[in-house]
Structure formats: C-alpha cells, structure tokens
Symmetry: C2
Subunit: 342 residues, 2 copies
DNA sequence: GCAGGAATTGGAAGCGCTCCCGAAATTTTA
DNA sequence: TAAAATTTCGGGAGCGCTTCCAATTCCTGC
C-alpha cells in the first residue's frame, strides 16, 4: 500500500528506536570511524527495519557530499544526447555515484546560455556533487561544485572539457567527397556556435584547397533537425546547377535529406552522395557515411574527469580533444567522368 | 570564469542588499500577495542583479513544492525506457514543472523491488513533488508525495497506473501467426513478472484455441535482452522439429533473433516468421512486425495524472489500460501448403 | 481625536541533517 | 594506583528556507 504518512521516517525516529543519539546515527550513516562496532550493528539493523533513507535535501544542505552526479542535457529526444547519456550511464554504474539527469527541453530555445546557469545552480552544490553540461552555450558558470562540459559551443579553459575535433572530422568528410570527384558539394549548416563554425571552416578550407570556387547557393542554413534536412534537400536539388553531394552538419539532418530525396525520385548514392556527422546508431540503417563522434566514450571520460574533480584530485589537462573517424557506408559514390556538372 | 565562491548568494544576501527582511524576500519569491508593489519591484531587481537562485534543498525541506517531477527509470539504454522518456518529456515541456530523471542501471539486477523504494524516498517529498516509476517490481511504496506507475510488473490499485493490455496484444500477435498457417510457433520469454506471464498466458491460450499442442521445447527463457534473442534463435533452430515462427517477448529480443538468423543462413520471412512486442523505433529498420505499445503516449498520460495528483485533484480511475495494435511489416509470411512442418 | 481594522513587515521557530566540542567511559602509562 | 590518553557518544548550533505570529504603520469612520 502507498502509505501517505504525513512524514517519512527521519533520523530522529531511528535514534529513538535504537536508543542512541542523532549524532551517532549520523556517524553511522557517514561511516565515521569513531563508533563502536556493536552500536553500529544495532543502528544498521534499525535502519533496515524502519526502511529509513536519509533526506537528500537536508543532508546536502549541511555537507556537500550527496554522491549524486548531475547531467544537464539540452534535449533528451535527440540521439546525440542519448548517446552521451549512455556513456555517462556506463561510467556511473561502476562508480559510487548515482545519476540525476536534468532536462528542460530547451534545445530549440534561443536563450539557453541564460538558463544554463540557472540549471547549474539549481543542482550543483545542492543536490549533486558535480555536474556535466552537454553542449553548453554559456562561456562560464558560477558554481560551488565542479563542472565538466562536453562539446561546448565555445571552448574555454575554465573547466574541464571533453570535445571532438570538429574541424578535422569535417575536413576528412569533405575531402572524401572531393576525392570521389565531386565538385558541386553543398553544406547544410547547424545552428550557430563553435561546432558548426568549425565544420563550416573545414568545408571552406577543403574547397579552397581543391581549387573549387565557393558558391553561397550551396550553403543552406539548418538547425540540426530532421526537418531542415528535408527542406534543405528540396531547395538544393531545385537549383539549376544542382549539387552532386551534400555534407550535412549532423546525421539527423542527413536523415532528413535522405527522406526528402526518396520522394523527389533522386537516388542515393547514384544521383547524390550524402555524408553526415556524429555517426548516431540510426546512421547504420540509412547506410549513411558519417563522421564518427565517439559520444559514448566522451560521456565516460566526462564522468571520470568529474569524479576526479569532486574528489579533489587536480586535473592536469583541462581540454581533452578526441579524434574523429570517417565511417564509410554506402551513401557516397565516385563521380565517374562527368565531373563537369550536369 | 567558473567562480569557485565558497558560498553561493543566499536569501540573506538579497535581504541585506535590498534592505528588507528575509521573510519578505521569501514572500516575493513565492508570489504571496501581501507585499507592497514597490518593495516587490526593488527585491526583484536585487535578485536579478545578484543572480540569486533559491537553494532547492533548503526550499524543499520546508515547503514540499519544488515544481520538479521525478522519473525513475530502470535502464536508460533500452529503447523502451527512452520512448517513455520522450513522452514524459513532451508533457513536461508544456507544464510548469521540470523533469529530473533518476537512473540506477538496475534493470539487470535482481533486487529491484528493494531498491525502488529507496529511490522513491530519495526523490519524493524531498526534491520532487511527485514521481513516475517505470515498470516497478515493488507492489507498494511508502511516500509522502504522489506516485504514478507505468507498466508495473504487478497491477495494484494503490496508485495511478498506466499500462498496456499485454494479454490482448500477445493474443493478436500469436493469432496472426496462426492465421498465416504456422503451427510450430516458438516463444522467447521475458523476465518473470506480470507483463511476461500475461504474454505467456496469451501464447498458451491462442495455441489451445487453435488446437495446437503445447510443446515445452518451443518456449525458450529469455530476459528481454538482444543476447537472449540470439541464443534463443540458435537453440530453437537447432531443434529437430524446428519452429516456423518465433514470437519474441519484446522487440529487442526479436532483433537478437534476426541477427542470429542471418548468420545461420535462415531467411526472414521465407524460412522463419518473426514477431516482436513494443514496436520500438528500430523495429522499422528490421521490417519487424510488432505489437505497438504506445509508450510515448503512456509517458504523457502518466505526467498528466501525476500533475493532477500533485495539485490535489482526485483521480477517478486509478488504472488506465491502453490498447495495443498489431503493426504488420515484412517479417512474417504465410506458410503456404507445407503446414506439416519440415 | 481615537478605537478598530487592513496592509505590510520583521522575528523566530523549525524542517532533517552534519559536525564541532566537550563529557563520559574505558584503557593505557608512569 | 593515579594521571593521562583514547575511545565512544550526546548536545547543540546552524545550513537556507518558509511560515506562523505578532508588531508596526496607516487609514477608516464615528
């Protein structure tokens, strides 16, 4: 039965039931050494018997150790976040900590940077011992407890950061298309921010390096969503001099492209080569060539760093850059002799 | 910069800075009416200026309203949980509440029921105003704040519950196979619990109804994992009188089957019909016929119910049963004339 | 011109917990 | 055997907040 007791069992009840003081109970709970073996046993029994569980709020108000780690994630519905989540979850499982995920569905909102601070202070130093922030927009946080960021929009040296070499990854992707003989290569961007601009820079650099003139018509603005992929595909393929390849800022957008393309009667890879970024699990099903972004691994590393920080160890290198890897599937094809556009 | 201030700004700092008492600040924060317009303005300004955010722990220790809803989920890596999560997230987005997800990776552990209570009391009445528990094993919870359960292992009337008609769904699935002419129908079970036994009961009932004798060799014990699907497939297909169809307790297991089968040189649906349960997104990619389990919708309903309960409204019907729907894809085939087994 | 009421505010208790400090009990040392 | 050291435990302050209660000011109306 759901007992709607007015109050849950507190440390006082345990104290009364076991005939010792509240302080002693607290000592047992926190595994302090100065408590008699016998007393400890008795207290532990009573705790078990009463089903007592210490009040997180009260506990964390006094001592800042809660053995909880917070994960602040922009959008739990996007595969990107879920992959990170999996990695974090794995690492947590083998640690002494529990995981608390805080989401606000603010991925699409504009004022993220403002809210992020609020979320951080909501959790950190209150209910969690430290926080991992995924793709933060904010450049800095005020917090009493440690913070680790994953793939921030702007790289700053203030707190440990795990991120992926977006520039290098994008270079590989675009270069791959160039090597296949493509010259009309379109790019569907993500939302503004460091990651996106890095990828954009790579796109431009590789074109320049290959002596391909930059065509603004081939750059379509997106926002990492599936929809922007479908829209982008329609716009780009309606161009008089249509592209032979599309580089999408992330896999989700690439999936949007491939879905739109199907309806337009354009075949991948025969009529259009397509390449994504992130290598999310779904990419496999779409046979999508993509830049692998080891999100799970990054999540695990972030946890490691955070726990180190929580436990007072110094972290020598704040910035951890992880290499990407091009995963070739069947969404790209060499452009045989007809390099001269359509 | 990450300011590692010893203490964050408290209500006292705000009080001092705005020249009023702590009580007044609290009144402003909680939007009580009895505060002069002018004072309120001034306090609000100071709050803004100092970047003050009230301490969740302290606040929730006194008043039980935190405007946070907890989701206790057994395993964030399984698509089932993720679908529920999406629904919950959607519903939360349009409410006044924020979402806190608590996971412990205990899906595979045995003593879940024991731990669940701990997790509930950890959050509820402390940091959250109410909690949604996904697939609880426990029959009852002691809690000061409302609880809603999704798909519990055992249906109890103690708290609002949203669940799906497993029996009916499984009946449809097995009946579909029978109608296709299959008589050697295997079943790979999930872990013990209500959901599984309901599906099992349906399996037996439909066989009986069709006059097909029950063969214990065709029931393989699983645990909802991918692995048990691959193992199950190997065992079942090694049988002298091998099944022509497999009903898997969930899609994950079905996916395991289809992966094993590929290696064994058995083709789906030509040599083996396969049907799953839950209709997770991946099912589409595997062309898996499955019983649709509207998890997102269930998540949304659970949030609605919980908010009602939190806000003191009475919930007329505690148990909400949601119908399933058979989604036919290409993993099943009629067994033409050769119904006489191989 | 003064009692009674409303509007506004401050004081203080206490939520459940941790932890410092010192007391009591016990053991060790001279 | 007395003093000192050690072990074990209780008292109590206080974390940041809400909320009851009471105090203060300022209007009303007679």
């Amino acid at each position: 039965m759901t007992k709607k007791t007015r109050r849950l069992v507190t440390i006082h009840d345990v104290a009364k039931a076991s005939g010792v003081s509240v302080s002693t109970i607290s000592r047992v709970l926190n595994q302090k050494s100065d408590v008699a073996e016998e007393t400890q046993q008795r207290v532990l029994e009573v705790i078990q018997q009463l089903g007592y569980s210490s009040n997180l709020a009260a506990r964390s108000m006094r001592s800042s150790r809660t053995y909880m780690i917070g994960l602040i994630v922009p959008d739990v519905e996007y595969a990107y976040s879920l992959e990170v989540l999996k990695g974090v979850n794995h690492a947590i499982a083998t640690s002494d900590y529990d995981l608390l995920i805080y989401t606000t569905g603010s991925f699409q909102k504009q004022d993220t940077a403002v809210h992020e601070q609020q979320y951080v202070s909501r959790l950190n130093g209150t209910v969690t011992d430290g926080v991992i922030v995924v793709t933060p927009s904010a450049r800095s946080f005020s917090s009493t407890a440690p913070i680790v960021s994953i793939d921030p929009h702007v790289i700053v040296e203030n707190y440990p950061t795990v991120y992926v070499d977006h520039y290098q990854g994008a270079v590989e992707a675009v270069r791959y298309l160039v090597e296949l003989g493509h010259r009309r290569i379109a790019y569907i961007t993500g939302r503004s921010g460091m990651q996106n601009s890095e990828r954009y820079r790579a796109y431009c650099d590789v074109l320049a390096e290959a002596g391909i003139p930059y065509d603004p018509d081939l750059v379509h603005e997106g926002d990492y969503s599936i929809d922007c992929g479908t829209v982008g595909a329609r716009v780009l393929l309606a161009l008089p001099d249509r592209p032979t390849a599309i580089f999408a800022a992330n896999d989700q957008t690439a999936i949007g492209v491939s879905e739109a393309v199907e309806q337009l009667g354009v075949r991948i890879p025969d009529d259009l080569s397509l390449i994504g970024f992130d290598n999310i699990p779904e990419a496999r099903f779409y046979q999508l060539t993509s830049v692998d972004h080891p999100l799970m691994q990054m999540g695990m590393m972030a946890v490691e760093l955070l726990i180190k920080a929580i436990e007072g160890q110094t972290i020598e290198e704040t910035i951890t850059k992880i290499p990407t890897r091009l995963v070739v599937r069947k969404s790209c094809q060499a452009l045989a002799e007809n390099v001269k556009s359509l």
